[in-house]
């Protein structure tokens, strides 16, 4: 399959988000809520960094991304268009990646819109841009992982609501996974639960600290979820 066909798939996905109200609603809610929290923080705490803003953004992304990701495969399956797509001369991997990249484009748009906050900080103060840029990269990685999980849950579901609910469940499970460590004191499971927990890695991210371990963690989550999604599509063919 050529790049032209792959690009056509991404364009189609993006277009689909904007011919339905879902992208407009999600983006508007995200921009409004993140703007509100940022303003609140500046007015009442007078912070000249984005740590609190990133913290709020990560929670908002956890709430909003399932609304975007739920349709990727579950809706196609519901409308029977998945059967059409899978009889076209395109691979399952291309389909999964095209849908994922389109979703990430929307997420990028959400994060870019929230960057108005940085302009406001620059206007009224002299913020340290290093942690802000690092924080945005981190939040993008976090959102990319959430999206990967969303695509995976959608690939196993035939109903969009179920897909969204499963995504929330998984995100919450992985967010609070480090709590599981307390159940197994002095065991290798402590390291395991801490390693798979979003909240452990995310604390570094929102401060703009991006370590190799954190980078590997998020990239692993993204690849693993997408590879499993491809395999699920293949299995479901039968």
């Amino acid at each position: 399959m050529g790049l032209y066909q792959f690009t056509a798939l991404i364009k189609h996905e993006l277009k689909y988000y904007f011919v339905t109200p879902i992208a407009y609603v999600v983006i508007a809610v995200f921009w409004s809520a993140s703007g509100f929290f940022f303003s609140f923080n500046q007015l009442f705490v007078s912070a000249i960094n984005m740590v609190s803003a990133f913290h709020n953004m990560s929670l908002l992304l956890m709430l909003m991304i399932p609304f975007l990701s739920m349709r990727t495969f579950a809706e196609e399956r519901q409308n029977n268009t998945l059967e059409l797509l899978m009889t076209l001369p395109i691979s399952e991997a291309a389909l999964v990646w095209a849908k994922y990249l389109a979703l990430m484009t929307i997420v990028l748009l959400m994060l870019l819109g929230s960057a108005v906050a940085v302009a406001i900080l620059s206007y009224f103060g002299d913020p340290d841009y290093g942690p802000i840029v690092g924080g945005y990269i981190g939040i993008f990685l976090l959102a990319a992982s959430f999206s990967g999980i969303g695509v995976l849950m959608s690939s196993i579901s035939t109903n969009q609501i179920v897909a969204a609910a499963l995504t929330w469940f998984c995100l919450l499970l992985m967010w609070f996974a480090d709590y599981g460590a307390s159940l197994f004191p002095s065991s290798w499971l402590v390291y395991f639960f801490q390693y798979i927990s979003f909240s452990v890695h995310y604390l570094d991210l929102i401060r703009g600290v991006l370590t190799r371990g954190t980078l590997i963690y998020f990239i692993s989550v993204i690849f693993l979820t997408l590879v499993v999604s491809v395999q699920i599509l293949r299995v479901k063919r039968s």
């Binding site: 399959m1 066909q5 056509a8 277009k15 268009t81």
Partner: protein
């Protein structure tokens, strides 16, 4: 039959413990329209899905122009146009947007893609609705859009799963014309429950039963045959039965009145013998009633299958 464009060789498919397809063999050549019949759950959709490269077969091979088709080899699906049972459409898109997208994904570019879209819009009389949202189209138009996407890349093979389901009589006639036009230079397989569709369209009919295909004689023979029920008063019933037996051996008689020599006769015969039979009944006794029932296509198929089974 010309060189087969599509071949299913010894295809097996199992869902859990239930074997849907067993040793299924089917070849379809250029210009052929093969009607795939069968009861619900007999595996018609599964057969088409395997042929379209959507599903895996557990055993066997699918060949298109002699080359294998595999679900994990997308390129092998380039020559197949497929219309699933539930027409796969994106309701929030306009007809032209939908077709342009599918032309691009099928690898058609620039002017070639534009020409392909225009061609199918014209062939299927969709030009008037190309700017309309798919979600606002009637069922007939939706079916046409579905068929249009299957024809976009001028595939050698067209697979249609119950393409006339739920259409009104006017739309049915249109759909038949469309399929007939689309079958030129192609191999077409379509599944249906509607026997009239088969008799109106197909060059060959196969019936899927117990995982196997059974060939049914050409559709032109199908309307022949029926049952005649007659009541006669006849003194020499044995002579009458012998004469009728020479025309149609499958005759049943029952005396319903001992004193009056009244008999009920029931026999299966082809339509061209009906006149001769009625004349024989009139001349051999007193014809009290005469009723001729043409066998429905459905009954005919069941009868043929029953005969084959025996």
């Amino acid at each position: 039959m010309s060189e087969p464009l599509l071949e299913l060789r010894n295809v097996w498919k199992r869902f859990g413990r239930y074997e849907v397809l067993k040793h299924l063999n089917l070849s379809v050549g250029k210009g052929e329209i093969v009607g795939l019949l069968g009861p619900n759950g007999s595996g018609k959709t599964t057969t088409l899905r395997i042929a379209a490269g959507y599903s895996w077969s557990d055993k066997g091979q699918v060949l298109i122009s002699g080359e294998g088709v595999f679900p994990n080899a997308p390129f092998s699906r380039r020559d197949v146009g497929y219309l699933p049972e539930k027409v796969p459409l994106y309701d929030p898109f306009r007809v032209s947007e939908y077709l342009n997208f599918l032309a691009s994904v099928r690898g058609l570019r620039g002017q070639i893609a534009k020409d392909a879209v225009q061609r199918v819009l014209q062939e299927l009389d969709l030009s008037a609705v190309e700017g309309r949202l798919i979600g606002h189209l009637s069922k007939g138009f939706r079916q046409r859009v579905g068929l249009a996407q299957a024809l976009l890349s001028q595939p050698k093979i067209l697979l249609l799963d119950e393409p006339t389901n739920g259409l009104d009589p006017g739309q049915l006639v249109e759909a038949r014309d469309m399929i007939r036009r689309a079958s030129k230079d192609r191999a077409v397989i379509f599944s249906t429950h509607i026997m009239q569709e088969v008799s109106a369209l197909c060059t060959r009919v196969v019936y899927l039963l117990d995982g196997n295909l059974r060939l049914i004689p050409l559709v032109s023979d199908w309307s022949i045959g029926g049952t005649i029920k007659a009541r006669v008063r006849c003194e020499t019933i044995d002579i009458l039965l012998t004469k009728i037996g020479q025309l149609s051996p499958d005759i049943r008689s029952e005396r319903i009145d001992q004193g009056e020599n009244i008999f009920d006769l029931e026999l299966d015969c082809s339509s061209d013998l009906r006149g001769e039979l009625s004349a024989l009944l009139v001349t051999s006794g007193e014809l009290l009633s005469f009723q001729s029932e043409t066998l429905s296509l459905e009954k005919r198929v069941l009868k043929l299958l029953d005969e084959k089974g025996k």
